[in-house]
Subunit: 343 residues, 2 copies
């Protein structure tokens, strides 16, 4: 029978969580168990925080407890990668309904612990509180800068625009789920799209190469390529041209989009939660960066270029230029409408 959170209490829960996340880390002077953790860093410290809310960012249909925990950490680590940092430590706060099944919480932490092990990150603290509402996971991550911080603001005309990995798969999975079309997908296509949504990966290998070779701007793709490209264009004061045919879209998504006559591009441009990197590189360095990415097994695709002109983003598709709106997703408006599509 399921053990509920209120039966074991905060101290009971924390004792079990400590076992799951415990690992050795020479940078940790004081770990979980006192008022606060104490850690040491040798370089400038990069810090970021990201939260996921049940019913808004995930549901029982879209994610398992284990992938929810893992993804909450990945979403936060992705911001560290986008700054050119290596990840170091995590603090995790959970607001939990008191009747939560303890096994679900432990599964979430096992998901976090797996990601921590993969990227050599240590969970050093957190807080567990009760809520009368949905589950909230808030993750704060620290990293150390590899070299200079990789900002959004240095793109210049002539640079090439790139992305890592492929885009739109995560949004494609949600679309198929909510349109009740999962069974229309080929099993391997379904597995790939689900994987893109449930198990994104932070792009540290790419970030390290970019930190070493230099890139002129960098951003992670959490809200869709259109929005992230706009952020670079605005921060750098440049114009970006994206060539539609170059955007890397997984064949599984193309197959899905064909069925429902959806545009696969829309998923890549406005979908989000891909956690890939988008950025710009000086054209003279592009060849070397591409070669190193290939040697490291990182998919790296040139999708456009930086030009003069008013800050903004254009899409070149079949010889025609069209302006791409920023179209930032307004979570608050969506939640109020009771959107089925979660974000």
């Amino acid at each position: 029978m399921a053990v509920r959170l209120h039966e074991i209490g905060e101290f009971g829960l924390i004792a079990r969580l400590k076992e799951i996340v415990w690992r050795t880390d020479a940078r940790v002077m004081v770990g979980i168990g006192d008022d606060a953790a104490v850690v040491t860093y040798e370089r400038p410290v990069v810090m970021t925080t990201d939260a996921l809310v049940q019913g808004i960012h995930f549901t029982r249909d879209t994610m398992t407890p284990e992938t929810t925990g893992a993804k909450a950490v990945v979403a936060t680590l992705s911001d560290l990668a986008a700054m050119g940092a290596v990840a170091r430590h995590l603090l995790v706060t959970l607001a939990l309904p008191p009747d939560t099944d303890v096994e679900e919480i432990l599964a979430m932490y096992r998901g976090m612990a797996d990601v921590c092990e993969t990227y050599d990150v240590t969970l050093i603290g957190g807080d567990v509180v009760s809520t009368g509402g949905p589950l909230v996971i808030s993750v704060t991550a620290t990293g150390e800068l590899l070299d200079k911080p990789l900002l959004r603001s240095g793109a210049k005309p002539g640079d090439i625009l790139f992305v890592t990995g492929d885009l739109g798969g995560s949004a494609g999975f949600l679309h198929a789920l909510f349109a009740d079309r999962l069974t229309m997908l080929m099993p391997l296509d379904l597995a790939l799209l689900r994987e893109r949504h449930q198990r994104p990966t932070p792009q540290f290998a790419a970030a390290q190469i970019l930190a070493e070779e230099g890139c002129t701007s960098l951003n992670d793709v959490s809200d869709g390529l259109a929005s992230e490209a706009h952020e670079i264009a605005e921060a750098s004061g440049v114009h970006l041209v994206i060539e539609a045919d170059r955007i890397p879209i997984p064949p599984a998504l193309r197959a899905y989009a064909r069925m429902g006559r959806e545009s696969p591009l829309d998923f890549a441009l406005y979908g989000g939660e891909d956690y890939q990197l988008v950025g710009t590189v000086d054209v003279r360095r592009a060849g070397r960066v591409l070669a190193r990415m290939q040697a490291s097994g990182v998919r790296f695709t040139i999708i456009g270029r930086v030009t003069d002109g008013a800050p903004g983003v254009e899409l070149l598709s079949q010889g025609i230029y069209q302006t791409i709106e920023k179209r930032g997703y307004n979570h608050f408006e969506a939640a109020l409408r009771g959107d089925k599509e979660i974000r």
Copy 2:
């Protein structure tokens, strides 16, 4: 007319929040506005996180938006003080219902900004997400260690046991509020108890003296003296004797307790949210520590001593020793019962 959050969206809100929290800080290389913040530290870094949930930790009756923001920060900074650190940076995550009045959110941030200014702390980032449930504020704070970390684990027989400030006032205010007895209080007593609950202060001045003079254990009083003393007893493997008459209880609380025939001691022992420091000091250093505390205007009270014996806490009251239970407050059980008393 009130502007609701969904009308201005995440980007609109963040632009306004940035204005409120902006301040210069030579340790900040990259502040709010990119994927992550970048900061520099010279000493070991202390990190902690704390969350408040509406309906559990506060309601519209117990707190104003401005004091809620301030207290969320103070609760987190208090842990830094209890480690012997000076505060540096904050990351704040808010999960907000989409129909939240924007003015309330701005008031919360003004409360945070006031605390930041007082303790020379800079808010360097955060996240704002939508929730279908109650408002959640999650604050992560960093600090730099002044000297060695002040842990809970070094108390030894013969040490004196102390607390800063006074205890129980915060719980007394909540008790009076929920028992509908606020109007029975003298106006100045009411003002003091409300202040204790709504505007606690982190004990950095005391922490600095303790870091310089050395203390053998230290903890902050967030869950009541009984629970915090137990944490020291367990971490240090010692027995603590608290003399009931020495516990500093504000006269306003004594007056309130007399009315309802409550025990003022219970508020101090089991109330919590005082955010004072409790700890132990070698008896040979106690005089010097006391003198420096007095010179700095910090109220510092010797309330007992450390003895041999099995880890635990005893209260000496009118010549009689009684064992004090840890009585950790189980938020989850309380929430399930629908307790009126919030924590």
